[in-house]
């Protein structure tokens, strides 16, 4: 009897989870289904959730893929996100290593200040950053995006990686010093290999951040061919009186593919990175 009741409860829980999931996933399915409808059908009334089977078309995707500028936008996004991830990993891991392992004047103050800046919304700094970008000729340049993104993700990355470094036994450092190693060898041979999971999880977040960043890129980039994907997607608005939703969602789906691949293949690291800061408390 007890076992039977348990099964019923389990079935109800699964049903609830699946029902919730349908609601959560619905907008995304609608996006995909709209991207597969012929562009002319998007303003028809009544709107339908799914296109008829024989209606399904790849014309929106073909239109996007044929335009060279969208391929350039794609490449821009890959480049900016990739370089941001690499630079942030190097810079934040060395900051985290030094702050976690060495005592120097102002260490606690420095770390406290780095953490404090996480409170300030990034967008509030857009005015002085814009002025700075004008001064250093970083306006309308994809290289100009990168240092701002790196600076943006340093606090969170340093905070997370520091947590991982503190879990590496100090005896490993001592052993390396005994063998005649210096600070640099400890960083390279002890810290980097052992903090890898932490660096990996932080890097996934940094990739996401750079990949989807909108306000800053939208402010400093003007040229079609210098845009990153979020700006290209939002660029469909305002150009024409009416929005070609088929194109919007085809480009959206294409730009989500790399994110989904990264997320699903790395989801173990992802969870680790999310929860390391929250559970310890």
């Amino acid at each position: 009897m007890g076992i039977h009741k348990k099964n019923v409860v389990q079935i109800i829980i699964y049903a609830l989870l699946v029902a919730g999931l349908v609601i959560v996933i619905l907008p995304m399915i609608y996006m995909v289904s709209t991207s597969l409808k012929p562009n002319g059908a998007l303003y028809e009334y009544p709107p339908r959730f799914f296109p008829d089977l024989k209606e399904i078309t790849a014309e929106n995707y073909l239109y996007i893929l044929k335009q060279k500028k969208f391929l350039v936008n794609f490449a821009n996004s890959i480049f900016v996100s990739g370089v941001t991830v690499a630079l942030s990993a190097i810079v934040s891991s060395s900051l985290a290593f030094v702050i976690a392992r060495f005592r120097f004047f102002g260490r606690r103050l420095l770390f406290g200040f780095i953490i404090l800046t996480m409170i300030i919304p990034g967008t509030t700094m857009i005015v002085p950053q814009y002025e700075l970008a004008v001064k250093i000729h970083a306006i309308n340049s994809i290289f100009g995006l990168i240092p701002f993104y790196v600076a943006w993700v340093i606090p969170y990355s340093t905070f997370m990686i520091k947590g991982f470094v503190e879990n590496i036994p100090r005896e490993l450092d001592e052993a390396t010093y005994m063998d005649g190693g210096d600070v640099w060898t400890v960083y390279k041979n002890v810290m980097i290999p052992l903090a890898k999971p932490g660096i990996a999880s932080v890097s996934i977040f940094n990739f996401l951040t750079a990949w989807e960043e909108f306000p800053w890129a939208n402010t400093v980039i003007n040229d079609d061919v210098k845009r990153t994907l979020p700006i290209a997607i939002s660029g469909f608005f305002g150009q024409h009186q009416f929005t070609q939703w088929g194109y919007v969602f085809a480009l959206s789906v294409l730009s989500l593919i790399p994110i989904m691949v990264v997320f699903i293949s790395c989801q173990r690291f992802f969870v680790k990175g999310l929860t390391a800061g929250s559970v310890k408390g």
């Binding site: 810079v91 005015v127 700075l132 306000p215 997607i233 999310l274």
Partner: protein, 294 residues
């Protein structure tokens, strides 16, 4: 511990790149922002500015549009933060109590979080369009209203769409964070409570909630900051329209800076936001600590 010269040099070299980038692109702008907030600083006048003391702060605080943007932001935060946390926690508890496909559910519920704000905003704009799918469903399928609701054409409609998007996009993050926290609550506590005849609700109130308190605080602080960070969704869904009725603090700050050229005003506004967030963070920590003692 004393370090020799070589170690000191290597430590300094490891610190340098990070400090340089952080210093130039984050610390300098913050200082500059603070400076700007005391000057009459209009777009295009990078050279001549007048020191006007707290005038910008006064202008912001007396501005009706700022009041609207600020109350929209507060409303957004007050509604989306608890909603995300409650739903996220509920989903986490459900996932925690099933035996199979836990990871599958976790991944699937997290998908909206990794969907970019730009894309999610456009999907919501499309669904909530006056001639869109949702209205069709409400009018022609459910018959709850006889006319299409013009969601995006008035203040509360636009805010509702933005808030629904915020909740939809935030559930996954809360679910993952709470799911991890639930693993840290010792199973023995539940077992001994069951032996004592405690019901599900009692276990939740007396074991689960205290056990995940530090995570609740963490989520509360992070999500409050997130609530004040709303920008892309309002910008793309309503653009602050009609008038400036659906503006939030950041879109209003951006509008004043880049459409009106009032850099000084925007700088003062930014500092007011940062100040409010700092106070909220302190208050939230205090509240949770007093509960701890009580």
């Amino acid at each position: 511990m004393k370090y020799d010269r070589k170690s000191k040099l290597q430590i300094a070299l490891l610190l340098l790149p990070g400090l340089l980038i952080f210093g130039i692109f984050t610390v300098y702008p913050i200082v500059r922002l603070f400076w700007m907030s005391f000057y009459k600083w209009d777009f295009g006048s990078f050279l001549e500015q007048d020191f006007i003391g707290l005038e910008n702060y006064k202008t912001v605080l007396q501005d009706d549009n700022f009041h609207i943007a600020f109350s929209n932001t507060i409303l957004y935060t007050l509604i989306t933060v608890p909603a995300q946390m409650l739903i996220g926690l509920a989903v986490a508890m459900l996932i925690n109590s099933v035996n199979h496909v836990k990871i599958g559910f976790r991944v699937a519920y997290y998908l909206p979080v990794v969907t970019s704000w730009v894309i999610a905003s456009l999907v919501f704009k499309y669904v909530f369009n006056t001639e869109g799918l949702l209205n069709y469903f409400l009018v022609n399928v459910l018959h709850v209203t006889s006319q299409n609701i013009r969601w995006l054409d008035y203040r509360w409609g636009g805010m509702t769409v933005a808030m629904l998007l915020g909740i939809w996009k935030g559930i996954g993050w809360n679910m993952v964070v709470f799911l991890a926290a639930l693993q840290t609550v010792p199973v023995e506590l539940y077992e001994s409570a069951s032996l004592d005849g405690a019901g599900g609700l009692q276990k939740f109130v007396h074991i689960t909630l205290p056990g995940i308190r530090s995570t609740i605080l963490f989520a509360l602080v992070m999500l409050t900051i997130g609530g004040f960070n709303v920008y892309t969704s309002t910008k793309l869904i309503t653009g602050g329209k009609p008038g400036h009725d659906t503006e939030v603090v950041l879109t209003w700050m951006y509008y004043k800076a880049f459409s009106n050229g009032k850099f000084g005003y925007s700088a003062a506004l930014s500092f007011i936001i940062a100040f409010v967030l700092a106070i909220l963070a302190v208050v939230q920590f205090r509240l949770m600590q007093t509960k701890d003692e009580g």
